[in-house]
């Protein structure tokens, strides 16, 4: 599959945007938390799971998405939300706990919900997988040619929800693509200590659906494999299971000492940083010039900065707003 030039550029731009967003969140996360790190303090309290290094997973599917497609993601959701085009201002505002956020400050970074585009994520491992199946049921019932994409870590592939959701989607031939982001670790537990097989893509055999492995954290490989899987689903061919080997460049959450990964491992990983290698390749292939690279960085940084500013200038919700939105108003009565 030849990748159109505008897709290559779009993927690269999005990678830059994601990385910049994660870097800025990281900086601001530690504001007012140090020197004695206090998780409850600062501009962004609570846990923070960042996806630097996993951008290829996100940008590779991006050019294949259509209006109305749905994504369910995990506790590590930013890269996917940004790639799908979730409103960056509202997303940032939610992470900062502001009233202008996607969830008016109620959800936070693990609970980003958007309707257009349809995005959701959660703090519970595997929770989003059945939800994607249901979205696909709705697409099928309503006759829209949409696809649901369910992202999850390699750690999640040992959770019962994985098995139940994929069996359902396969049984009912639903338009879902299950995407395992294999960053080799679930917090401190390596895949070898959690998973009885090497490749989760092989588990597709348990459901009679295609299983494909992307071994190299390369946006173009992801683009190709996800393109085929999404096309198949959109065309009524049913679900597939994709596993993508990727890298979590930073700790599991911010503040994680990351002592369970060796220095060698981390050095290798940083050397193959997909943002660097993709830029080099686009330069080498003549897709982008050095000037383009600089321009893109500036433009993306500006966009991210605007979102951060929007967030930080937004008001907090009123404390009593705690009580709102447990239930909605009734819209239908007899």
């Amino acid at each position: 599959m030849a990748v159109p030039r505008e897709h290559l550029i779009d993927m690269y731009e999005t990678m830059v945007k994601i990385r910049r967003f994660e870097e800025r969140i990281r900086e601001l996360y530690f504001a007012d938390k140090l020197p004695a790190f206090d998780i409850a303090a600062g501009l962004i309290p609570g846990e923070m799971h960042l996806a630097a290094g996993q951008e290829p997973v996100a940008v590779g599917m991006r050019p294949h998405l259509k209006d109305g497609d749905a994504i369910t993601a995990t506790h590590r959701p930013h890269h996917l939300a940004i790639a799908q085009g979730v409103d960056l201002n509202k997303m940032a505002a939610e992470i900062f706990g502001r009233d202008t956020g996607l969830g008016r400050g109620k959800g936070g970074h693990m609970h980003l919900f958007s309707t257009e585009p349809s995005f959701g994520c959660s703090g519970i491992i595997g929770e989003g997988m059945p939800v994607a199946v249901g979205a696909a049921m709705a697409f099928k019932a309503r006759g829209t040619a949409n696809v649901a994409l369910s992202f999850f870590g390699e750690g999640a592939a040992n959770q019962g929800a994985f098995h139940e959701a994929i069996n359902l989607a396969a049984l009912w031939s639903l338009p879902v693509v299950f995407v395992c982001e294999d960053n080799a670790y679930a917090i401190s537990v390596p895949k070898t200590a959690s998973t009885a097989v090497t490749d989760n893509s092989d588990r597709a055999a348990a459901y009679g659906i295609p299983g494909v492995l992307v071994p190299d954290n390369d946006p173009v490989s992801v683009y190709e494999v996800m393109g085929a899987a999404i096309e198949r689903a959109r065309g009524g061919g049913g679900p597939s299971l994709v596993e993508i080997r990727t890298d979590r460049l930073w700790g599991h959450f911010e503040g994680d000492a990351d002592a369970y990964r060796t220095d060698d491992f981390k050095e290798d990983m940083n050397e193959r940083d997909p943002l660097k290698t993709f830029a080099q390749r686009l330069l080498a292939d003549g897709v982008l010039s050095e000037a383009d690279i600089t321009e893109i960085a500036d433009r993306m940084h500006t966009e991210v900065e605007a979102a951060i500013e929007f967030a930080m200038n937004s008001p907090y919700p009123a404390p009593e707003a705690t009580l709102d939105h447990v239930f909605s108003e009734r819209t239908v009565t007899l």
């Binding site: 959800g107 059945p130 199946v133 049921m137 709705a138 069996n167 359902l168 447990v326 239908v332 007899l334």
Partner: protein
């Protein structure tokens, strides 16, 4: 006279679902054995024939999978009715129920609605042992974000089901096996009653006075409403006038109705088939204490299932679950003491 038409609770539920499916193409049903079988307790009887397998879907035994799928469908424009065959099975799928279905609306700051009905059978009394006889409504009511309704008769069953389907929030609809009027369960005359044919709603969150009285208030729900009514009839012969409040929903809880009745009778008995501690009985008593403390002539009393798993053997189970006799004894003791 359609107004005088009588149905069992089970048929009233199935009729309510059929009427809403008829009126709204986004309503569909899924769960184990909801199709050909019509639901183990008949809640979906006849629906497969009427609406076909796309709208009445049998599922694998994958409660996390299909309840989670219900959530996804609800978010994307459908109004699913999802059956968890017995409430006792909640443990294999509770994350989807309490952490997901019940919280997405909140997490989204009100932007996303999850108009889903989770139906489930509750209750014991027929020796189905400790994993098939629980009510567990206290636990569901403890966890925020879902409405919890428990009809005790055919009329309410239909109206609450229609209200639940039309509600934009997740509603857990618990039907007690003993009030369904099933041919294969011990005959219960109150399980058959007048049910109007045209669709109607019973508002979620409003208790009903199942019997008026002046000496003691008995607050309860589900099959225990029937046991309380039986007890009240016998108590009346002894000159005791019991008022029976059928909560009908635990969330929202009609605290006003509880306090109003206690203010009238000055005495409170709570009858709860759920486990005694940390549940509904304590909540109802605390509600009366908070709202009608000065009216109480005696400490409220509870008649509940003790904090033990539900035993299988008939004499044990009969002893453990609230009974008409235990309710009577509680009332008699209270009226003598107070």
């Amino acid at each position: 006279m359609t107004g005088e038409r009588k149905l069992t609770t089970q048929k009233a539920i199935a009729e309510a679902i059929a009427q809403e499916m008829d009126a709204d193409p986004t309503v569909f049903v899924m769960g184990e054995d909801v199709g050909v079988y019509g639901g183990i307790f008949g809640a979906t009887e006849g629906l497969l024939d009427e609406f076909g397998p796309d709208r009445v879907k049998d599922t694998p035994i994958s409660e996390t999978g299909f309840i989670g799928a219900g959530i996804g469908a609800a978010i994307h424009g459908m109004r699913p009715i999802v059956e968890l065959m017995f409430v006792d099975f909640f443990g294999v799928c509770m994350d989807q129920i309490y952490n997901n279905m019940a919280k997405i609306h909140y997490f989204s700051g009100g932007n996303i609605k999850v108009p889903m009905v989770l139906t489930t059978a509750v209750g014991g009394g027929y020796s189905d042992a400790g994993q098939h006889s629980q009510t567990l409504w206290g636990m569901f009511a403890h966890l925020p974000g879902m409405k919890v309704v428990v009809p005790s008769n055919p009329y309410d069953a239909k109206g609450l089901m229609i209200a639940a389907i039309r509600d934009d929030n997740p509603v857990v609809y618990m039907f007690h096996k003993g009030v369904l009027g099933l041919g294969w369960m011990t005959n219960n005359p109150r399980a058959t009653g007048v049910v109007p044919e045209a669709p109607y709603e019973v508002p979620i969150g409003k208790a009903a006075i199942a019997r008026e009285g002046s000496d003691v208030t008995i607050v309860t729900v589900g099959l225990s409403v029937h046991k309380a009514l039986d007890a009240a009839e016998k108590l009346a012969e002894e000159g005791v006038s019991a008022e029976i409040l059928d909560l009908r929903s635990l969330v929202p809880l009609d605290r006003e109705a509880i306090c109003a009745s206690v203010e009238k009778t000055h005495r409170l008995i709570v009858v709860d088939e759920d486990y005694q501690s940390f549940g509904m009985s304590g909540e109802v008593i605390t509600t009366a204490i908070e709202g009608a403390f000065d009216y109480l002539d005696a400490p409220p009393v509870r008649v509940t299932t003790p904090d033990t798993p539900i035993p299988y053997s008939h004499p044990l189970e009969a002893w453990a679950l609230p009974s008409t006799e235990r309710i009577m004894r509680a009332a008699q003791a209270m009226l003598v003491a107070g």
